[in-house]
């Protein structure tokens, strides 16, 4: 049952199917890769699952979208950083690294202010740019486009995960 790589169809059903395949695939990799003992490091495990979720989402969408590219890039570089730095810290370290990389290429975003940027962005757009990965340098039109796609994929991913939880939740 290999996941069929269907070309860029955003039909929600096919998207769901592809996401499911890819997510399960990533979860399997996750479980095989490291010694995920049933230890007390819940945070790390949950973080890995979350990463797997985002990675599967981005992988399914591919390079068509800026946000998926940004996610894939972030994850790959995060792996590089973990290998190099032997990080045993919590995930916040990863966040800092990723964010510092991103800052080099992007302009500063104001924090929780309601005024208008020098670029003419309102405070809300700035917040949106922070939430959606990869839209830092886009114009308002592309920003809304990417946000729509991101929301759609996120909602599908949440649905997939919820169905899996339901499936496995029998005790």
């Amino acid at each position: 049952m290999s996941p069929p790589q269907q070309p860029s169809s955003t039909n929600p059903n096919s998207l769901k199917i592809r996401l499911t395949h890819r997510f399960l695939h990533n979860l399997n990799n996750l479980n095989k890769k490291r010694s995920n003992l049933d230890n007390t490091q819940i945070h790390r495990r949950s973080h890995r699952v979350k990463l797997a979720a985002y990675a599967s989402m981005a992988r399914v969408v591919g390079s068509r979208r800026a946000w998926s590219r940004a996610i894939l890039w972030k994850i790959r570089n995060r792996k590089v950083f973990t290998r190099n730095k032997r990080v045993d810290h919590k995930t916040t370290h990863h966040h800092h690294l990723a964010r510092s990389i991103k800052r080099r290429t992007t302009n500063h975003s104001n924090h929780k202010r309601e005024y208008v940027d020098p670029n003419g962005n309102s405070g809300q757009e700035v917040k949106l740019r922070k939430l959606v990965p990869g839209v830092e340098t886009m114009d308002a039109c592309g920003l809304l486009d990417e946000t729509a796609d991101y929301i759609k994929c996120l909602a599908t991913q949440v649905e997939v995960m919820r169905n899996l939880v339901d499936l496995y939740s029998t005790i």
Binding site: D38, I42, S122, R162, S169, T170
Partner: protein, 373 residues
């Protein structure tokens, strides 16, 4: 209307080089014949209220013609040129024509470079270019200068109908600003296109985001932001409960509230994140678990709690456990035979479902080990 007549007569008096034999009526008749024979001109302005797709057909920007001063100044301009010299005085009179609301900065000189966005300037330069290069057939009919009242009336009506905006012929001349949606300025056209695209995208987003009955763009953006945050939180919470493995390794979130997008107040659909992943847990496992927990509890309560958390279990007082197990609401999914039935939210698909938050309860006394709902 009268103003135009008077000002034109001012111009007449000012400019001496006009051919006195040709009356005003003749001039305007010639102009109008030129106008009416050129279908393209009025068609362009009538059919095109939007971005100038007809720009290629004409050498100038003729999108907007209900502007009286535009017409007047354009006529003056062209006869200024056919007169063969750069007459400065009509331009000053043209300036006097300038209407108070003018966005149109009627430029004083011939030599004003084309650096401005003004539509009238575009018209002027277009006219200039066309006349000097003698390419446009429309203006060959225009002979000597002059303007008459009747002619101006007709020009007015043609321009008004050409404007396509549906204004009455008796439109006051003070209205210099472009009508909404009919700006001739290329920059404002681009701006309008951009706004339309953004509005389109916002509409598409409205369908995706629940509770999208807000018409205000700002509040819509707020909704979108909240929804994205909510979805990301859901992924995080679900990933906590989705830890794969042979044993039930879940962590119940502690009173989480979703991003507040549901429109029913706080409390998103967090409650699902519970349950273990074992599909085949039987009593043996539970016994082993219990023994393990008991052992851990003897040493350190904290480690016992952590162990339980790793398994997706929690400690709660027996009374609460019974209360929960008799709760009527059941989690969705017929596959779920969870004995507790849980305080998990009733379903719905997606974020529009009502809220439930899951609690882990710990108590020092009277504990019972229960699967977290």
């Amino acid at each position: 209307m009268q103003e135009s007549q008077m000002s034109l007569q001012d111009l007449q008096t000012n400019t001496n080089s006009f051919d006195p034999t040709v009356t005003h009526d003749d001039f305007l008749d010639q102009m109008l014949s030129g106008l009416q024979t050129t279908v393209s001109w009025s068609d362009v302005s009538a059919g095109d209220g939007e971005g100038g797709q007809n720009k290629s057909t004409l050498p100038w920007d003729v999108d907007h013609f209900d502007d009286q001063s535009t017409m007047i100044s354009s006529k003056l301009r062209q006869h200024q040129i056919t007169a063969g010299n750069g007459i400065r005085t009509p331009s000053s009179a043209v300036k006097s024509l300038q209407l108070p609301t003018g966005e149109s900065a009627l430029f004083p000189n011939d030599n004003t470079p084309i650096g401005d966005n003004n539509s009238i300037q575009n018209l002027f330069h277009g006219f200039t270019g066309s006349l000097t290069s003698n390419q446009t057939p429309q203006f060959r009919n225009f002979g000597s200068p002059g303007a008459a009242a009747a002619g101006m009336n007709q020009v007015q009506t043609t321009s008004v109908t050409a404007g396509g905006g549906g204004g009455a012929p008796s439109q006051p001349r003070q209205r210099v600003r472009a009508r909404r949606g009919q700006a001739t300025d290329p920059h404002s056209i681009a701006e309008r296109l951009r706004r339309e695209r953004i509005a389109e995208r916002m509409k598409a987003l409205q369908e995706l985001v629940p509770n999208a009955n807000k018409t205000d763009k700002a509040s819509m953006l707020d909704e979108i932001i909240d929804y994205v945050k909510f979805l990301q939180l859901q992924v995080k919470v679900l990933s906590m409960s989705r830890l794969g493995g042979a044993t039930a390794g879940t962590v119940a979130p502690i009173g989480a509230e979703g991003g507040g997008d549901c429109g029913q107040g706080s409390g998103g659909r967090v409650g699902r994140s519970s349950n273990g992943t074992t599909s085949s847990s039987n009593n043996d496992t539970m016994t082993v678990t219990e023994n393990q927990v008991v052992k851990l509890m003897e040493e350190d309560m904290g480690s016992a709690m952590q162990y339980l958390q790793g398994k997706g279990l929690c400690l709660m007082p027996i009374s609460l456990a019974t209360a929960i197990s008799t709760a009527t609401c059941h989690p969705s999914g017929s596959r779920n035979n969870h004995p507790l039935g849980g305080a998990c939210g009733g379903e719905g698909g997606g974020p529009s479902s009502p809220n439930m938050s899951v609690l882990t309860v710990q108590s020092a006394n009277g504990v019972s080990v229960k699967d977290s709902p």
